[in-house]
């Protein structure tokens, strides 16, 4: 049982990473990025290609990939969304659908639909702990993902609390117009939020790829779970996103074991609807803001 929970937390941690990216983009720019998964997918393909066809070192490729993701995020925000910000959120949302379609098409076009393998970032045997409570297995991959999540959480915490730009990010999230009057360059903050989000998507792709293989739809399900996690967390705070993801991972694992695998998306759907209707502020929620 406890191992199930650990595995659940491990997948949950990935969901948390997705949610963090989504929440950052939403809080700052007011758009929910439905092209998130495909951004991550595309960069993962890029990294795969760099390592397998070009023969680059895996870690170098990853760095290049993440930088590429950040640039892609900034470009999409600056040229795809900024021009129509004043129109409506619905228009911006539809632009993200367009990006989703284009990225999927590009991936299929360039690399085809075959599943490609992706190397594990860490290899080796899992750590096994024996004791009175039973056997408790901790795979290296789990440690990796927990470390990444922890690292990013701490970095975010430090960034938003103690750096000037971090405060600018929070200011723009709260009130874009007034942040402008403070002398904050709102455009830079917007660009940053999308650069960050896209990079997070890339990280998720890299982490998930060994398990689900690289394919055009590799992260679609992660995106849904990421949204669900964010909703659980109220879509307002990073902490909410993190805990939402972890909880969701555990729920999913338990449902999968005791009910059936095929109902995973249905469970998410039910969670989304129930939470949004009965807990509009999320389980950890603060203030609710209607954007559309």
């Amino acid at each position: 049982m406890i191992n199930q929970i650990i595995l659940g937390l491990s997948t949950g941690a990935t969901y948390s990473l997705v949610a963090i990216g989504l929440v950052m983009m939403y809080k700052v720019s007011g758009v929910m990025n439905f092209a998130y998964a495909n951004m991550g997918m595309f960069v993962t393909y890029l990294i795969w290609w760099l390592t397998s066809s070009v023969g680059m070192n895996l870690y170098v490729s990853i760095v290049i990939g993440i930088i590429f993701a950040a640039i892609m995020g900034v470009v999409v925000e600056r040229y795809g969304l900024r021009p129509i910000r004043h129109l409506s959120s619905a228009s911006m949302l539809i632009v993200t659908f367009g990006i989703l379609m284009i990225l999927e098409g590009l991936a299929v076009q360039i690399w085809g639909t075959d599943y490609k393998p992706f190397p594990e970032l860490v290899t080796g045997s899992p750590y096994v702990f024996r004791g009175d409570f039973g056997i408790f297995v901790l795979r290296r991959q789990d440690i990796l993902i927990f470390s990444i999540l922890l690292g990013i959480s701490l970095a975010l915490l430090f960034f938003t609390r103690y750096t000037k730009f971090g405060i600018a990010v929070r200011a723009v999230s709260e009130n874009e117009e007034i942040a402008g009057y403070m002398g904050i360059n709102v455009g830079s903050v917007l660009a940053f939020s999308w650069g960050f989000g896209a990079s997070m998507a890339a990280i998720v792709g890299i982490v998930a790829a060994p398990k689900v293989f690289v394919s055009p739809t590799m992260l679609t399900y992660y995106q849904i779970q990421g949204f669900t996690a964010a909703v659980l967390g109220g879509f307002e705070t990073f902490n909410g996103a993190i805990f939402g993801g972890l909880i969701l991972g555990v729920i999913e694992k338990l449902v999968g074991n005791y009910i059936s695998e095929g109902f995973k998306a249905t469970i998410s759907l039910v969670i989304i609807i129930v939470v949004l209707i009965f807990f509009p502020k999320g389980l950890f929620g603060k203030n609710v803001r209607g954007r559309v």
Binding site: M101, A265, T266, I273
Partner: protein
């Protein structure tokens, strides 16, 4: 009717089963997209789960036909009904969700349905789907499939059109614009929003069922998130808040792969680019821009045909060209009548019919109008007055009664000021005021629209003569109006706002009657009073219950006035 043509088409394409199938697919996506338009475009709720309803309809219909031998039309309807019910199911929670959150929920819905259909293997055939779905046909399966889809498309189209023009449609649009305002006004927003979801889903269900029977093979992945997004793209590109948009969007969606078949570009890329382009630059979709195109360009063709070609009067030569005019009567006292904007010499016909003996009436087409030549240079009231001077000189008129209507009134004033000795009496009928008529600059664009829009010209003329209802008369005047020199459409408005004769008319000693109808919308009684007071010998005459064209609306009154003062 277009539909009849559509029904006949397949018989000409019998050799090309492929094209028939393409058109059939277009029909299917049109139906599904019409449903999505109801949900998104009209009631303003976003849904990226629409394909799930297609899936529900498809599987329902397929299972009914294959397992229970239900006749196909009923099974399709059943598919629609089940989809309708699921639409209700989603519609209620959707009430509490808006915008992005609804998008998330509907996304979850379509993936959940896809997963469900995959996992219920015993019933739905799981991942692999169902093959060899039968389609009972009498003669040619492709043509019959096409006709079946066309029939449903027709029904849905008529249904949607009816709804949009009825209370339901208006309620939806009110909700879309401002939900709070709508509820304040008493619209039961919940009922209408849920209804929109249900009806829209029903159409998707029908489309899905048709898809199953036309293609013959369905699998859960046919109706996943990508298909939902495709449907959304079709709606947006075609025009979300229109009934014909879905057709254009579907045509592009289905036809596109063939345009790109030489290259190996993935359709998602192209479609995604088109979608973004439309959202950024043509947000109202193709439907709207086609409509504008029709108005701007097709109307030009109509205008071309409706333009008058046969002069109906005589001509005199003047220093700037020909002037066209009519002459009536053979009495001693000459009357010179000057018409107004968008009119011509024969505008006065209803009055001329009542012309008493003892008068001869002369009605010229002003320069820039009717069959007279164009006035050189910019349009000015004083220049029109010069044109009248030329006409008077050429016709050898003197000591005449000068009558001016609307714009013609301003011209008459200008003429009288310049040639007081020629005019024995001035009658201004619903005339432009003595100090000019201002028109806001924003109207200039509108005025240019009149150039190619006979319908608008006719409506304007009739609107300004509310009690004279002879439509054929206005058709004739409109045909003259279409001959107006292009520069005069805006030029006349500018000219009307650029003069002020208040000072100059102080010298005019002749009797002046300022006549106006109390229902005149263009000119106020204030302006008429001011004008009457400006003339030393001016008298204000108000005619009850007529509008801006009293000379044709109540010609008898004008005749009375004419004879009274003599």
């Amino acid at each position: 009717m277009v539909w009849v043509i559509l029904a006949i088409i397949p018989f000409f394409l019998m050799n090309n089963a492929f094209i028939i199938t393409i058109l059939t697919l277009v029909g299917i996506y049109t139906i599904a997209s019409m449903g999505l338009n109801i949900i998104m475009g009209y009631s303003g709720q976003i849904s990226i789960g629409h394909a799930a309803f297609m899936s529900i309809g498809a599987y329902t219909s397929t299972l009914l036909v294959m397992n229970y031998n239900v006749p196909i039309v009923f099974s399709i309807l059943a598919g629609g009904v089940v989809a309708f019910l699921f639409g209700l199911l989603i519609g209620f929670p959707a009430l509490r969700l808006s915008g992005f959150y609804l998008a998330i929920a509907t996304m979850g819905f379509v993936v959940a349905i896809e997963q469900l259909m995959s996992s219920l293997e015993s019933v739905t055939g799981g991942h692999a789907g169902i093959r060899s779905i039968p389609f009972e046909h009498v003669w040619n399966s492709d043509v019959e499939k096409y006709l079946l889809v066309l029939a449903f498309a027709f029904i849905c189209y008529v249904f949607m059109n009816r709804m949009m023009h009825a209370k339901t449609g208006r309620a939806w649009m009110a909700i879309r614009e401002n939900e709070i305002a709508a509820s304040v006004v008493g619209i039961n927003t919940a009922k209408y929003k849920v209804l929109a979801f249900a009806i829209g889903s029903m159409m998707a269900g029908i489309a899905g069922a048709l898809y199953a029977h036309v293609i013959g093979y369905i699998a859960p992945s046919d109706f996943g998130l990508s298909k939902s997004l495709d449907l959304l793209a079709i709606s947006v590109i075609g025009g979300m808040a229109s009934v014909d948009g879905p057709l254009y969007g579907s045509l592009i969606y289905v036809a596109m792969p063939f345009l790109f078949s030489r290259t190996h570009v993935s359709m998602s890329i192209v479609f995604g680019i088109i979608l973004i382009f439309v959202v950024m630059f043509m947000p109202l979709g193709i439907s709207y821009y086609l409509y504008k195109f029709r108005i701007n360009y097709l109307n030009r063709i109509v205008a071309f045909f409706k333009r008058g070609r046969k002069p109906y009067g005589d001509f005199v030569e003047t220093s700037f060209g020909k002037m066209h005019y009519i002459k009536r009567g053979s009495g001693e006292i000459p009357i010179l009548l000057i018409h107004g904007n968008f009119a011509s010499a024969r505008f006065f016909e209803p009055f001329l019919k009542k012309l008493p003996a003892g008068y001869t009436a002369y009605c010229p087409d002003l320069p820039n109008f009717g069959y007279s030549s164009e006035m050189p240079g910019d349009v000015e009231i004083d220049k029109y007055a010069q044109g009248v001077e030329e006409y008077v000189k050429a016709m050898g008129l003197k000591d005449f009664i000068l009558i001016g209507h609307s714009l013609g009134g301003a011209v008459a004033m200008a003429y009288a000021i310049r040639n007081p000795d020629k005019v024995r009496r001035l009658i201004l009928i619903d005339s432009a005021p003595v100090d000019g008529m201002d028109l806001a600059e924003e109207s200039h664009k509108l005025l240019n629209m009149y150039r190619y829009n006979p319908q608008i010209i006719k409506s304007a003329l009739m609107f300004n003569a509310p009690t004279y209802t002879n439509e054929k008369f206005f058709d004739v005047i409109t045909s003259d109006a279409l001959r107006i020199a292009p520069k005069a459409f805006v030029g006349n408005a500018v000219a009307l706002s650029s003069y002020d004769y208040t000072e100059k008319v102080k010298e005019l000693k002749i009797p002046v009657d300022i006549v106006y109808g109390d229902k005149d919308v263009l000119i106020s009684s204030e302006e008429m009073k001011r004008t009457a007071e400006a003339f030393p010998n001016g008298k204000l005459v108000m005619i009850k219950d007529v509008g801006h064209s009293s000379i044709i609306e109540s010609p008898d009154e004008i005749v009375k006035l004419l004879q009274h003062r003599e």
